[in-house]
């Protein structure tokens, strides 16, 4: 379907979300441009994960709407919508009774791809995320945390979705593995040019991976800035974040220049 390239891929229009009397999100307006990595940064309970789940309709807004390529996502078939969006979560959520290969192949399989195409795609993806081909026959419990999350990323990419939603995907990993996966994420993004929404509470990660950072606090969007502006921002919440993380942020923000 032809899409005007200037239309935001994802657009929140005045979105609010309440659970009972608790306002989780208040009047969110946000646009995500094609091929960018937008990072939703904020502390626990700031509404960033909810925002992510609103995109693939794991959660429905109390008011407002979310548009995908200009179309309100309520109007799209929810199953088609989700299959066109890769979803990676912190706990990975691999199916423990499936091998790595079958885990990666979940969406192609339900989409009815022929077996040889699936097999070829799995091999291609394993290579893409830096996993040895022989891991295909392993079960999730036989993998390390880093390997599991690589499989999680491969699974999300399997049917080549245009959009990737990532909810603290590297949050549970040790610092070395996290660093490795962040680096590979950047390389991957250079090759694949997905539209990515990435949730994290780690400013360093946000600066390193994001093309723009959307800072959330108590259900409200505080500010949206590219990394190099974020660290100099006078916005009280942004500067509070920068102060909390302290030294060494410049180098994280300038990874593009080096």
């Amino acid at each position: 379907m032809p899409v005007d390239p200037t239309t935001p891929v994802i657009e929140f229009r005045d979105v609010s979300y309440c659970v009972g009397n608790t306002q989780v999100l208040i009047g969110l307006n946000l646009q995500v441009a094609r091929n960018e990595t937008l990072v939703l940064l904020g502390r626990s309970g700031s509404g960033k994960t909810t925002s992510l789940k609103l995109i693939n309709r794991l959660v429905s807004p109390t008011s407002g709407e979310i548009r995908i390529n200009g179309i309100p996502n309520e109007k799209l078939d929810v199953i088609r919508l989700r299959r066109g969006i890769g979803y990676v979560i912190q706990d990975v959520g691999l199916f423990p009774h499936f091998t790595v290969e079958r885990n990666i192949a979940v969406v192609p399989k339900v989409e009815g791809w022929p077996d040889d195409r699936i097999r070829a795609r799995v091999q291609e993806l394993l290579q893409l995320v830096g996993l040895a081909p022989e891991l295909a026959s392993r079960y999730p419990h036989q993998l390390s945390g880093g390997q599991r999350q690589r499989v999680g990323v491969a699974r999300a990419l399997a049917a080549d979705p245009g959009i990737l939603l990532m909810d603290e995907p590297f949050g549970a990993l040790d610092p070395l593995t996290r660093d490795e996966l962040q680096r590979e994420f950047l390389l991957l993004q250079q090759r694949l040019h997905k539209t990515v929404v990435f949730v994290t509470h780690d400013l360093r990660e946000a600066l390193r991976l994001g093309s723009r950072i959307a800072l959330m606090e108590a259900g409200k969007l505080q500010t949206v800035l590219p990394p190099h502006e974020f660290i100099r921002s006078s916005d009280p919440w942004a500067s509070a974040y920068v102060r909390a993380f302290g030294e060494g942020l410049e180098s994280a923000a300038n990874r593009g220049a080096s």
């Binding site: 199953i79 979803y87 979560i89 199916f95 699974r155």
Partner: protein
């Protein structure tokens, strides 16, 4: 060794009653699975229903079995044949462990696995058949195992209303004050319970190994 001799002498009758017993237990367990597993799946997905359903199954469980057989006796179609009645009563007793274990098995599936599946665009039925049931199957089977073992024991009481089964020997032995006759019913029943326990237990382990 008197018992062994007695059993051998009456082997055709022992065999007949054992088969009858097996029929009562098998049919009632099949019905209970047919009703209980979907019911357990339903209450796992509709949390509002879980309390009333589990409470009802619990209440049935507290009715003394002899009384339940008695209550059901005047029911028109059922009372006409005592094996129908016995099968209904045994089915009711088998429901609780099967519903409860199905519920526990499904709700015990790691929430992140279900969320990932739903987020990837699996339909609710794909999620059920490909993720929830395979991951819950060993817990469900352990409920079936408990149900079968309980049924084998309870089915002996069905003889009191003339539904046959190994209970015939037990009641007859009690009336005759003859331990050999009681044991001719009790021993095959005990063996049946052990075999069922082992057999379903084997399936349970096979499925959980994955």
């Amino acid at each position: 060794m008197n018992v062994v001799r007695f059993i051998l002498q009456n082997r055709t009758q022992v065999l007949d009653l054992t088969l009858e017993h097996l029929w009562l237990v098998g049919v009632s367990t099949a019905f209970a699975m047919f009703i209980g597993i979907p019911m357990g799946i339903l209450i796992a997905h509709r949390p509002r229903l879980n309390k009333p359903v589990l409470a009802s199954a619990n209440i049935i469980q507290t009715i003394p079995s002899l009384a339940l057989f008695g209550f059901l006796l005047p029911v028109p179609w059922l009372g006409a044949r005592s094996d129908r009645l016995a099968i209904l009563a045994l089915t009711l007793y088998a429901l609780l462990p099967i519903i409860r274990n199905t519920y526990t098995g499904i709700t015990g599936v790691d929430a992140s696995v279900v969320e990932a599946g739903r987020g990837m665009g699996l339909t609710e039925s794909q999620l059920l058949w490909q993720v929830e049931l395979p991951l819950a199957v060993s817990v469900i089977l352990s409920g079936v195992r408990i149900a079968v073992v309980i049924s084998v024991g309870l089915a002996t009481i069905a003889a009191a209303i003339g539904a046959g089964g190994l209970g015939e020997f037990i009641f007859r032995g009690l009336a005759m004050v003859d331990n050999r006759v009681i044991l001719a019913g009790a021993i095959p029943a005990a063996i049946m319970a052990l075999v069922a326990d082992f057999g379903v237990g084997y399936l349970e382990r096979r499925f959980s190994a994955r």
